[in-house]
């Protein structure tokens, strides 16, 4: 019974994630694209929590849903303010991209299939003190590099956005 509920939760989240991703890829309306991306990111964060990575789910929520999604909304508002009419997102001839994407999916799934049986789902929660000890211990250089990268990105965004002012 517990496994049935667990599988049901996993597949429900998977359906939401795939539906959101399909909306992102196929819609012509920018607001629908944003809503689809939001649904996809929320489902992804919920899947992280489902696998027992609660801190990662929170980070996904804060960084993507609270940061990147709002950033995309602001970019859409800034960019489409001066254009005429309702903004629409065009798509190229889809057959060649569909062929490439299908081939990639088949290749990746075939490559990973032998290890499929070793992937389990529900485990005990991870201890946050352990993660903090790693981030401030052996992973400290990577942690610092990530912080420096964010700082550089911030400076680049300020320079690119404000560079045209006279």
């Amino acid at each position: 019974m517990t496994e049935l509920v667990s599988n049901g939760v996993f597949w429900a989240l998977a359906v939401v994630a795939v539906t959101g991703a399909l909306v992102v890829v196929f819609t012509r309306e920018v607001m629908r694209l944003t809503l689809g991306l939001g649904a996809f990111l929320l489902a992804l964060a919920a899947l992280f929590a489902y696998f027992g990575f609660g801190f990662l789910a929170l980070a996904e929520l804060f960084v993507y849903v609270g940061g990147v999604l709002i950033l995309i909304l602001f970019a859409i508002m800034l960019v489409h303010r001066s254009s005429e009419g309702r903004p629409e997102l065009d798509t190229r001839d889809p057959w060649l991209p569909a062929f490439a994407a299908t081939g990639s999916v088949v290749l990746i799934a075939t490559m990973l299939w032998p290890s499929a049986r070793s992937i389990s789902k529900i485990t005990a929660p991870l201890g946050l003190p352990d993660l903090a000890g790693r981030l401030l211990g052996p992973l400290l250089p990577q942690f610092e590099i990530a912080g420096a990268l964010l700082l550089v990105a911030l400076v680049v965004v300020v320079v690119v956005s404000g560079g045209e002012r006279e």
Binding site: F10, W11, A17, V18, A21, V24, V25, L33, L37, L44, L47, G52, F53, L56, A59, V63, Y64, V68, L71, I72, F74, A75, I76, L78, V79, H80, S83, P87, L89, D90, T91, R92, P94, P97, A98, A101, T102, S104, V105, I108, A109, L112, W113, R117, I119, K121, I122, T123, A124, L126, R134, L135, Q142, L149, L150, A153, L154, V156, S161, E164
Partner: protein, 106 residues
């Protein structure tokens, strides 16, 4: 098994969006979808490593969480810089279509 199907499907959908869309906003959103698939697989593998409980194994749950955090940070930086470039270029071209951005100036 279902995790591999889901993650590769998400990667494929994102790849299709990157190749098929003309608008930069849609391409950036598709890149985020592409990143989501492998990240989900990484988290699933971390869940397996935690279930195995082998502290000397090559892949531990803490490593997975650290790697995933770094991926999220890099993706956030990429999205911020990409959107700033988009706003800057779109002010000049008055369009977000990729075909309209043909001029490269130093």
């Amino acid at each position: 098994m279902s995790l591999i199907v889901l993650s590769s499907l998400l990667f494929g959908i994102g790849l299709f969006g990157v190749l098929a869309r003309r608008d930069i906003v849609a391409i950036l959103a598709s890149v985020e979808v592409m990143l989501g698939g492998p990240l989900l697989l990484l988290v699933g593998l971390g869940s397996t490593a935690r279930a195995a409980g082998d502290p000397s194994g090559p892949l531990q749950a803490v490593h997975v969480e650290g790697i995933a955090l770094l991926v999220i940070v890099v993706a956030a930086a990429e999205a911020a810089v990409g959107l700033a470039l988009l706003v800057s270029v779109a002010k000049q071209t008055r369009s977000t279509a990729l075909e309209d951005m043909t001029e490269v100036r130093g």
